[in-house]
Symmetry: C2
Subunit: 257 residues, 2 copies
């Protein structure tokens, strides 16, 4: 497989750096082709702005419209186009990052905002009475798999169903569903390492074991069963779940079969 690792940590000599290096070596040894977008090392520009189009449209900057024009006219900033090319090349994408303030680091959020151009990751497909664009299960990433590898300093029970931080699956839903399922990725369950400030040699060995297991099963692990937007479960255009679909469930979990 072709595997892209989008990676965000400011220090190469960190737990995250070690896990990333291990993943690259292990995947290559297994015969895969690996590319890494090491966002800090690349000094990735985090802020989406008018400079993302090398030939900005006249008048006030309109983020979506300008992104669309740049994507269609081939005038995107070269760093954006290069990342899109890597995505197109990939069969599987791994996003690895430390959980900072309950989400991905700003530099990775800025990768999403800038690489996810209008016409590439959203604003794709036709709108009709039965089809609200190619999104949430359809889109240009269809057929590709994606998985998060996340480290957090917090304790696992703090991220449990009744833990104070909120359940980890709910905290990651905006990424899993809103960033990965949206343009068509098949989303694998995340690999989350907790309380990483207390990583001794034994714990690190255990992490490598768990990581190896997940890397070895990228091709056949069962994905999160998110519903397809245009698969019949949603009313269009309100895009609310039909009344006969798990009527007793509200919120994020209603969108998983």
């Amino acid at each position: 497989m072709n595997i892209l690792i989008v990676y965000a940590h400011p220090e190469s000599q960190s737990l995250n750096g070690s896990l990333k290096d291990f993943a690259v070596s292990h995947l290559q040894a297994a015969g895969h082709n690996v590319q890494v977008s090491d966002l800090y090392a690349m000094q990735w520009k985090a802020a989406l702005d008018a400079g993302d189009n090398t030939e900005p449209s006249p008048g006030p900057f309109q983020p979506s419209q300008d992104s669309q024009h740049a994507y269609h006219n081939g005038t995107q900033s070269p760093d954006i186009a290069a990342e899109q090319k890597k995505l197109q090349w990939s069969d599987t994408v791994i996003f690895q990052f430390p959980l900072w303030w309950f989400s991905m680091p700003a530099i990775m959020k800025g990768w999403v905002e800038r690489v996810y151009a209008y016409g590439f990751a959203y604003g794709v497909g036709e709108h009709s009475d039965t089809h609200w664009g190619d999104r949430y299960g359809e889109g240009k990433m269809t057929g590709k798999r994606a998985m998060l590898i996340v480290t957090t300093g917090g304790w696992e029970p703090h991220y449990s169903a009744r833990g104070i931080n909120g359940p980890i699956d709910d905290l990651l839903f905006p990424i899993h569903h809103g960033i990965l399922h949206y343009p068509g990725f098949t989303v694998l369950p995340p690999l989350v390492f907790y309380r990483t400030g207390r990583t001794d040699e034994n714990r690190y060995s255990q992490m490598l074991y768990e990581l190896t297991e997940r890397l070895n099963t990228l091709e056949n692990a069962s994905p999160i069963a998110f519903r397809q937007q245009n698969g019949g479960d949603y009313d269009i255009p309100s895009l609310t779940l039909k009344t006969d679909i798990t009527p007793e469930i509200n919120g994020f979990s209603a969108h998983v079969k």
Copy 2:
């Protein structure tokens, strides 16, 4: 009151820019002192890195520890110290931004990551059998109010209880609870404007009316009733809700009284 507006949009001649300008004028006319952190105009550095400490510690960069040293030794990057000073000055903080990929723009996430130093916004207070640090309802922001003003291109029903994007309150929970309640802010309900791509003159007038109402009630509006971490509802150190607290509820909503 002293009011800080932390604002992120790349175009001053945008709906967000107009709403921000209106808010500043209206609040000043009402006698408040207003400061604005216009992150794009300030070219705010989004990526947290070793450069955030003007005298970096030797050895590999450790984000939390380095942040702690810089905060305590007065060697933080001046842009970070300036924002902390604005926060200390403020009675109320408004965060205004377009919802991009179901969260705040990267440039604002980077404001949180860099300004929220160890010792300032986390790592505050003592840990004991009955007190797990000053957080989730206690901390240096205690006594200050905070409110989000959010615009989104999506339709309101798509953000409803059974809407495909997930409920807006759940999407904003990591910000409301994890970023604002965490260091002690009293969090007001958000002001959310939907489907902003279709803003005609009538709709804009209505927005200003709703915005005015919320600006006029900053001091006395009822906040979101998040539970206090050290208030008796949570077991310590697992920080899970005690079994007799709304035992039938899991997830984000269990943390609101």
